[in-house]
């Protein structure tokens, strides 16, 4: 497949605005407030207004407030394109391709992608397993999520199973995984908004309590509130807008499975396929990437992505993470401090995209690090949702 339609859509479209509503702890904002605030700020950043918006993409389908239909009505807009695809934390990376296809094909001219969650301060939709059925009694299970749940398996346990297998097959150690958390915290120490900013060491990670062996507390992401949005419009219209436009260069997506019990290979994710697709479309290779925003729900998530995306060979993630991940290094990752230290409201993918846009634009500020001296020309974003299940790779670059 040569993906000509999507490549053509990327030619015709640009990301022209991005904003974060706020994070990490926002008891004054509901999830709905985060959406509204992020949309307003991203449009202002783009030099556009609500009246310009004719495409709306949120990570929830159906009816109600935080759906494309409900939100459009509330905002007083009548979009000619909506999408509510929700595949977990990676959704907002998937949305970039949908926005480009919708704008590139003329279904709409200005598409806004938005998210907001209050994982820390509020009740996250779908968080509790009890009482969701509405009619009394426990909710009905489905697929591997049901069969896995019969063992009392929490989400972290699913990722821990992949970590255990990686250790068994490749000799990866807890020290290796800890390096990923240490690098994230190092970047968080430069981000005044990050939820945790005090530097940590490998020993700190190893001496934090077990949550699900072999993952310690500091192998796990933080639990935050937060929201964000970004705006996609035509390349023509982008020329008249105030901020440097960001170009989408390559993309790939794949669902590998849903629950961890059906993961085909516990040491390899669908990122191996999405990375190949995205690099192929962009005409780039891993060595061309200046920095990467990789979904870091847990340290093992990053280890698997580094290997599957081809930044190192399979099984060599351990040695790789010891010397590559920090700002100024060969492959700076998660330059805002990541989900491991800065912000993770439940679905972090939005922050991967907004951080990539900041890096490409070179928006420095007090304590806000740019990954590479001389600027970032190419940034790879990779979202993971579910239990290592849903994957999307997006490569972005400067508008030439």
């Amino acid at each position: 497949m040569d993906h000509e339609v999507l490549k053509d859509a990327f030619e015709r479209t640009r990301i022209v605005g991005a904003a974060i509503s706020d994070y990490p702890l926002t008891p004054h904002l509901s999830a709905f407030d985060h959406h509204i605030l992020a949309i307003r700020k991203a449009l202002a950043d783009a030099g556009l207004g609500l009246k310009d918006v004719d495409g709306l993409i949120l990570a929830s389908g159906g009816m109600g407030g935080m759906t494309p239909m409900g939100m459009a009505e509330y905002l007083g807009i009548r979009p000619t394109f909506v999408d509510g695809l929700s595949v977990g934390g990676s959704s907002f990376v998937y949305h970039a391709a949908r926005a480009a296809l919708a704008v590139g094909s003329g279904l709409c001219e200005v598409a806004v992608v938005a998210m907001g969650q209050t994982g820390k301060s509020g009740t996250r939709p779908g968080r509790g397993m009890r009482g969701r059925g509405g009619g009394g009694g426990p909710p009905q299970g489905f697929g591997s999520f049901f069969w896995d749940s019969l063992t009392g398996l929490p989400l972290i346990g699913a990722y821990a199973m992949a970590a255990k297998r990686h250790m068994h097959v490749y000799g990866t150690t807890s020290e290796d995984l800890a390096e990923i958390a240490v690098a994230a915290r190092y970047h968080a120490s430069m981000n005044p908004k990050a939820q945790y900013q005090d530097p940590i060491t490998v020993d700190d990670v190893l001496s934090s309590r077990w949550v699900a062996e072999p993952l310690h507390l500091l192998d796990c992401c933080v639990v935050s509130d937060g929201g964000g949005a970004y705006v996609v419009t035509t390349a023509d219209r982008a020329k008249d807008l105030p901020k440097p436009a960001v170009r989408m260069l390559g993309y790939g997506e794949r669902i590998g499975h849903a629950g961890i019990g059906q993961m085909p290979d516990y040491t390899q994710t669908a990122a191996a396929d999405t990375g190949r697709m995205a690099f192929g479309m962009a005409g780039l290779k891993p060595g061309d990437i200046d920095c990467a925003e990789l979904y870091d729900s847990f340290t093992i998530t990053v280890m698997l992505l580094l290997e599957d995306l081809g930044f190192c060979n399979k099984g060599e993630g351990g040695p790789f993470v010891r010397e590559h991940l920090r700002v100024g290094g060969p492959l700076p990752i998660n330059t805002d401090g990541g989900g491991l230290s800065a912000v993770h409201p439940g679905m972090r993918g939005m922050f991967l995209v907004t951080e990539a846009i900041r890096q490409i634009r070179g928006e420095e500020g007090p304590g806000r690090a740019i990954a590479r001296e001389g600027g970032v020309d190419t940034c790879l974003v990779h979202g993971v949702g579910g239990q290592l299940s849903s994957h999307a790779t997006l490569i972005v670059g400067k508008d030439s």
Partner: protein
């Protein structure tokens, strides 16, 4: 054990009733496809190998090996919370399918990947569940 709250479970998905009737009789069922001859778990109304809707139940030997596992130390769900630490594992059944199950009758620190295991059935109230213990 009796003072612990009952473990939280979801109600069964469509088509799973037969599996749980069998566990009460000490039988571990998986599915086999008469069209292509391949096996699958979890139970579905369609064969994931060839798409045939005519999948059949067959009894598994109950023998297998640990493919990977985790020791759960933190869990908020009622009933489970009181049991930490416990082991959730992916079991390679000798029929060639995988099943998620607890490893029991073995200290968590003694569980190993590739360890041979055999099924045992535990009455958990809402379900009788297959769990795996070190092979005798």
């Amino acid at each position: 054990m009796s003072e612990s709250p009952r473990k939280f479970f979801m109600s069964p998905p469509e088509g799973a009733e037969r599996f749980f009737e069998a566990t009460k009789e000490g039988k571990l069922l998986i599915q086999s496809c008469p069209s292509c001859g391949r096996k699958q778990f979890y139970p579905r109304k369609i064969c994931i190998h060839c798409g045939s809707p005519d999948v059949e139940w067959v009894e598994a030997s109950g023998r297998g090996a640990v493919h990977t596992y985790t020791v759960i130390h933190q869990q908020g769900m009622p009933g489970w919370r009181e049991e930490v630490p416990y082991v959730s594992a992916i079991i390679d059944l000798e029929e060639g399918v995988r099943m998620t199950a607890n490893v029991v009758e073995c200290a968590p620190a003694d569980v190993r990947i590739e360890m041979p295991v055999e099924v045992t059935f535990v009455d958990e109230g809402m379900y009788t569940l297959p769990k795996f213990r070190p092979a005798s």
